[in-house]
Structures are given as structure tokens and as C-alpha cells.
């Protein structure tokens, strides 16, 4: 059974259509595996090789990958929620209620979006703590740490802008308070608040601006920095294995 499946897969990989798309074709050699990664637009961000030990759960707890996973869940559920949500003052709250009580699976998607958002913030923090305490932020990976901080800020801004969209009391006052915090910036504070809200009050303009930020500008910026973040793992020498002495120690244990 297993053999037949492999043969079928090999035949598929050798077919003209498959090879026109993936180029690498059938094969089990290390070179072939490297080619598969290298010739794929998504996979080529990553290294073609990694130390086996670095892929153990205990090394990273897979926190970065889990963060990315929650981001993907958020993008998919978010796009689906957009199909029923109008970012306007008379409709926003009722659309949110419709998603809860009227739309099939609406409450499931909304709750999935909500819990993934909470999980993503938690995972970003956990990922940063893990990287920090392992010392994985040190040269040559210091700039990838900086990109990570940018991604943390984008995550927090995504949470904040998403908070307004249900247009309920919690949303309204949270953004009132948040925008007044922004206006505490010296000199430019009131301009920042005015541009943020598109006015002096949390109103229709603010709802629309937060919606565009939440659904377009911030996710696109996040994807841009995530791509750089992943690519730099490869460019900075692969996943961090530890200092040479700890690596030798661990290898000795095996």
C-alpha cells in the first residue's frame, strides 16, 4: 500500500503538468529536497537545511510558528467576517449582533477571531521571552529582533483597531481613552489624535479609519515584515541552536 502510494506520487511528480509547476520533479536525494525548498516561492524564504536538534519542541516551543498560525487563522476568519460587517455607525453594532445570532457559524467565526487574537498577543510575548532568555537575539540576529519588535507593535495596533469595530460601549470608551493617551504625545499629540480619529470625537470617521487600518494597512504591513522576519532567519545563519559550548554539550548527551 505504502509502496503503491509512493509510486503514484512519484509518477505524479514526474508528470509534465507537475514539473511545469514545481520544476523539481521526483527524487529522494538531499539535493532534490534542497531544490524543492529553493524553487518554491514560499519555502525559499527558509533554509534548505536545519539541525535536527533545533527542530525539537524544547528548543523553541514552536512559538514563532504558532504565532504565524494564529495570524493565518485571523486573516481567514477576518476576511469571512468582513462579508457581513459594514463599518458605519448605524450598521456596525447590528452587523456584529447578526454575526452572533443570525449568520450560520457567525458566532463560531467571531469567537475564533477573538480567541486567536488573544492567543496571538500571548504567543508573540511568549516567543519574545523565549528568544530573549535563550539569547537568540544576539548578533548576527540583532536586526531580526528589531523586526520582531516592529511585529509586536503591529500586533498590538491590530488588537487596538479591532477593538473599536463592534461599536459597543466597551469599544467606544476604550478608543476614547486610547486616543486621549495618544494626545499626550508632546507638541504633536492633538494632531495625532485628530488624524487618528479623523475628527475630534470617536465617530463615523474614526470607525472607518480603524476599519481600513485593521483590515488593510496593518495586515499588509504585518505580512511584509513577517516575510522579512522569516527570510532573515536563513540569512542570519538559521534557527538559533545555542552558544557553541551548549551545542557541544547537547550533542554529547545524544
Amino acid at each position: 500500500m505504502a509502496k503503491t502510494l509512493t509510486t503514484y506520487l512519484d509518477e505524479l511528480r514526474d508528470s509534465r503538468v507537475w514539473r511545469s509547476i514545481f520544476r523539481s520533479g521526483p527524487g529522494q536525494s538531499n539535493l532534490h529536497h534542497a531544490l524543492v525548498v529553493q524553487s518554491n516561492v514560499f519555502l525559499h524564504l527558509f533554509s534548505v537545511k536545519a539541525r535536527k536538534r533545533v527542530l525539537d519542541f524544547g528548543v523553541t516551543w514552536y512559538l514563532g510558528a504558532l504565532t504565524f498560525g494564529s495570524f493565518l487563522v485571523l486573516v481567514i476568519t477576518g476576511v469571512l467576517l468582513m462579508l457581513y460587517y459594514h463599518p458605519s455607525v448605524p450598521l456596525a453594532y447590528t452587523d456584529m449582533k447578526d454575526l452572533q445570532f443570525v449568520v450560520s457559524s457567525g458566532v463560531f467565526l467571531r469567537n475564533l477571531h477573538r480567541w486567536s487574537a488573544h492567543a496571538m498577543v500571548l504567543l508573540v510575548f511568549a516567543h519574545m521571552f523565549k528568544v530573549f532568555y535563550r539569547g537568540a537575539y544576539r548578533p548576527p540576529r540583532e536586526f531580526n529582533w528589531v523586526i520582531g519588535v516592529v511585529l509586536l507593535l503591529i500586533t498590538l495596533f491590530l488588537s487596538y483597531t479591532g477593538y473599536l469595530l463592534p461599536w459597543d460601549q466597551l469599544a467606544y470608551w476604550a478608543v476614547t481613552v486610547g486616543s486621549n493617551i495618544a494626545s499626550a504625545v508632546p507638541v504633536f499629540g492633538h494632531h495625532i489624535r485628530f488624524l487618528m480619529l479623523g475628527g475630534n470625537l470617536v465617530n463615523a470617521n474614526a470607525l472607518l479609519r480603524f476599519y481600513v487600518l485593521h483590515c488593510m494597512i496593518l495586515p499588509l504591513t504585518a505580512i511584509f515584515f513577517i516575510a522579512i522576519h522569516f527570510w532573515r532567519i536563513r540569512k542570519d545563519g538559521g534557527l538559533y541552536a545555542g552558544t557553541p559550548s551548549t551545542v557541544a554539550e547537547k550533542e554529547g548527551e545524544r
Binding site: 470608551w173 476614547t176 481613552v177 486616543s179 486621549n180 493617551i181 494632531h191 485628530f194 488624524l195 479623523g198 475628527g199 475630534n200 470625537l201 465617530n203 463615523a204 470617521n205
Partner: protein, 164 residues
């Protein structure tokens, strides 16, 4: 050869530019101007010129509608109308800390903010923070029709009562 040329220039006439340097500077200069212009246009575009926000001037109704010695909150406009023995005055109900709507607590005789616990007396003076300033007094006057009018954009000094 190129190096030799540069040497001669730097020794001879240090101030003058060669053609390439001149065009590089013109290019960078025009890029800087264009960048600055883009920033200005972006700011102007993002700052709305017309706002469809409620007027700061509010009609608070007939003075007779407020019982003697009372504090009345209008949550829609964010003002307290206070009637005391000396007369009427209007107080902003927007907390000076982070903009939440405060509420009159008749059982305690104070104004309290639900967000971060600031407390004020009924004349707006601060009892406890985190609010940095007292609640401001707003200009109030009697219209020709005999209605109390309040201008929320016009802060006045405390203890200017409207006597009726």
C-alpha cells in the same frame, strides 16, 4: 585616471562641483522637495476639512426644569447643569484624565469617573486623581426664548453663575 582627475580638482578648486556631483545634488534636492511635498499633502489629505460633528452649543432647556439644589447630567452632550442657591452653571462631564463621561453620585454628593476613579466636587474641583485638572466650567447664558444655552467649546473661570 578618474582618481587623478579628482585629486587635481580637490587640490585646485575645492568649492567647485564637477558635472556629476552637480546633477547628484540636483537629483537629491528635488527628491527631498518631492518627499516633503508628499508629507504635506498626506497630512492635508488625512486631516478632514469639514466635520459632521454635533455643534458645541447646546440647548439645555428651561431653567424651571431643574429642581433647586440639583446636579443633572445630559449624557448625550456630556454636560452637568448644576442649580445652586447662587444660580445656574454648566460643568463639562468629560473627565480631564482620558475623556470618559463622569457621573453624579447623589448618595455621595460627588462626581465620579467610572474609568479610572477620579472624583470631583459638584463645583468641578478635584477630590482625587488621576485627573490632572478640575472639570471646567462652560459658558452658559439665557436665550431670548428663556432657554439655558451652553457653549461646550468655551471654558470660563469657575464661580460665574447664571442668575435668574
Amino acid at each position: 585616471m578618474a582618481d587623478e582627475g579628482k585629486h587635481e580638482k580637490s587640490e585646485g578648486e575645492e568649492q567647485s562641483l564637477d558635472r556629476r556631483q552637480f546633477f547628484v545634488r540636483v537629483g537629491l534636492g528635488s527628491l527631498a522637495v518631492a518627499g516633503l511635498g508628499t508629507a504635506v499633502f498626506a497630512y492635508q489629505y488625512l486631516a478632514p476639512n469639514v466635520l459632521y460633528e454635533p455643534s458645541p452649543i447646546v440647548n439645555a432647556g428651561k431653567p424651571g426644569g431643574y429642581p433647586p439644589d440639583s446636579v443633572t447630567l445630559d449624557p448625550a452632550t456630556g454636560i452637568f447643569v448644576v442649580r445652586e442657591a447662587e444660580g445656574f452653571f454648566a460643568l463639562s462631564a468629560v473627565c480631564t484624565h482620558l475623556g470618559c463621561l463622569t457621573a453624579w453620585k447623589p448618595e455621595l454628593g460627588i462626581i465620579a469617573c467610572p474609568c479610572h476613579g477620579s472624583k470631583f466636587n459638584r463645583d468641578g474641583t478635584k477630590i482625587t486623581g488621576p485627573a490632572p485638572r478640575p472639570l471646567p466650567w462652560l459658558r452658559m447664558w439665557l436665550s431670548d426664548e428663556g432657554d439655558l444655552m451652553v457653549d461646550r467649546s468655551n471654558l470660563i473661570a469657575a464661580r460665574e453663575f447664571v442668575r435668574i
